[in-house]
Amino acid sequence: MKKSVLFVATACAVTVLLAGCGGGGNASRDTVRAVGSSTVYPFAKVVADGFAKANSGMASPIIESTGTGAGMKLFCGGVGTQFPDIANASRRIKRSEYDDCAKNGVTDIVEIQVGLDGISLGEAKGGLALPLTQTMIYKAIAANPFGKPNTAKTWKDVDASLPAEPILVYGPPSTSGTRDSLKELILVKGCESDPAMKALKDSDKEQYDKICTEVRGDGLYVDAGENDNLIVQKLEANPKAVGIFGFSYLEENMDKLSGLTMNGVAPTYASIADFSYPGARPLYVYVKLAHVAAIKGLKEYVAQWAASWGKDGVLAKAGMVVATDAVQATNARIATELTKLDPATLK
């Protein structure tokens, strides 16, 4: 008899559990939810920490690292408590993503540039110290540089001034915001060093994308996954390899790695802040305006970003490159007034 009582009890527990969650369709939420870029994720966490300290009694925001693209998709799902309030992005929102948002009723978005990050090229200490340019990197890792299949096996094949060492590049996978930046900041620039490619951009956009942004798949460019620590380990194990990752990882591992110069500029804090290093990119936070009134703490969390991104702020300490004073001032104003993003400025 004892056993059957047990079963009835468990069965009841299950029913109660399921019944208890049945009415959960439109519950309100008192924690801020942010999704998006894995590059912004550590910084968003720092701000969340600061938020929890500054506003005792409010729950710390929930931050999910999904990658910029996937985050935008979730963010643009619609308005309502089941959708995130904030999308972190390591690039600007795309025109297509904005349209997708608008289609789902998310028309009012606030765009805040919170700081900068550099995608930097690095290698283990005592590596090849290649003096690279965007064109060289493009020629080394593109699938079809300037329209011809990539046959380069050593750096010497790419440029006669480089040593005859085999090409091996560890870099971000195609789902990553870092990869988007690699395309935009390095590959496209290298590709457009040939005027014919620039012309192609107007005549055949698809072909242009294929030639300029596709990365070779024959094993010389290795997808190292979203885990940038893994790239650091691989570089240590193989001093002749080159890694492409966020600048904060280079900075944190300065005792093991050294940065590679691009166009003669080394990746340092200063060269990224003033954009003289070609791999610098701005980081953004997108806020859903319709949620600001409904979600407790959202306004305060956005304000916390503005309070954290200064030169001596916690974000700088966490490895983010701070934006120039003018950019900071503009975005601080946007963060307090919550000015809507003008879709006409998007690409």
Partner: protein, 421 residues
Amino acid sequence: MSEPSTPISASQAKDPRFAARLKKRYTSERRFRLLGLGAVVFSALVLAFLIVTMTSNAIGGFKRAELRFPVDFAGAALTLDAGQLAAPDARDKLKTAGLADVIVIAGTKSAGALAASEISDSAWGEVADRLIGDPDLLKSSLEVSVPVTNDLAAALRGEGPEKLRPLAASLAREGKLVSRFDPGFLSRSDATDPQAVGIWGALKGSILTMAVTLLLAFPIGVLSALYLEEYAPRSRWTDLIEVSINNLAAVPSIIFGLLGLSVFLWIFPNYRSAPLIGGMTLALMTMPVIVISGRNAIKSVPPSIRDGALAVGASRVQTVFHHVLPLAMPGILTGTIIGMARALGETAPLLMIGMRAFVATPPDGFTSPSSALPVQIFLWSDEVSRGFVERTSAAIIVLLAFLLALNGLAIYLRNKFETRW
């Protein structure tokens, strides 16, 4: 053995061919035994290697660097009396009264300005909790031990920023900067500073998730196993169901994650990252394991038990619940624990339903957002800051300990219910 074997005649035994054959047989016997022993030794070595490297890394993870110095609260100008500390907002009061500054000033006096500037931002909170616990401390001088920043902690290990290393070495010599066992690691939640992180949030998330999984998968699994074994007629349909369940048990876990994402999160859109959804998803994965092991356990109950019960007039239900199920219970429990252990270590489906978030407060129920142990390990392994390497190992040890506890429970229950016939 009662049959007399044909005796081997002396001439046969002396035959060299016989001796060679006999030797060959013994050799193959010995070879097989050595191979088996080798396999066991190899797996034991792998396990030992894993445990030794993990624990040696994890020892550092359970510790943190703390700066020790006296704070004279009686002499400090804290505009507070002991009565105010009883109020619920005592922490805020202590903060506005400048507790953080008092600590930094005391730290400067004892260890110098550079060391004091490396006191962790969360230090005041820990001292505040101590004061709230015992307001009389406000009238005295207190020896506090507060966490330092990640940089100074790294310098103590000899790997952080160069400029802090001599300071860390000299403070360590004076006994002011020590690496101490950190019990708070088991009671705090995720944070950005590796010095301030804890595993409790993820552990609680895992416990809640497992509870949901068990509550759903166990009754459903056991009832299906009972029905299939005791009631269902053998037909094409039951064969089909059996094949489907066996297939379901072999489906990769990521598929269940996608199912959870598209079905459960579609029904309950507000419960992204909640243990409820995680538990439901993992229950789908665990249920077939329980059904299969349950059916085997029920099958192994001798038919004579059923016949005996029916013979003395028990109904089918009574037979099943009074006799068959209790006897099958040890086997069912073993299967359940194996399934649960697999679910506990599962990361992929939880990633799909959003349990990979940064959650700084432990979940307060089945529906609040939470993390889980394996996901926490995954997240920490991806951290920029190097202090997280040791913390990750420590989290792995906590996960292994939890698993061990589950398995221990399974063995205990099995022995308790086990019957021999």
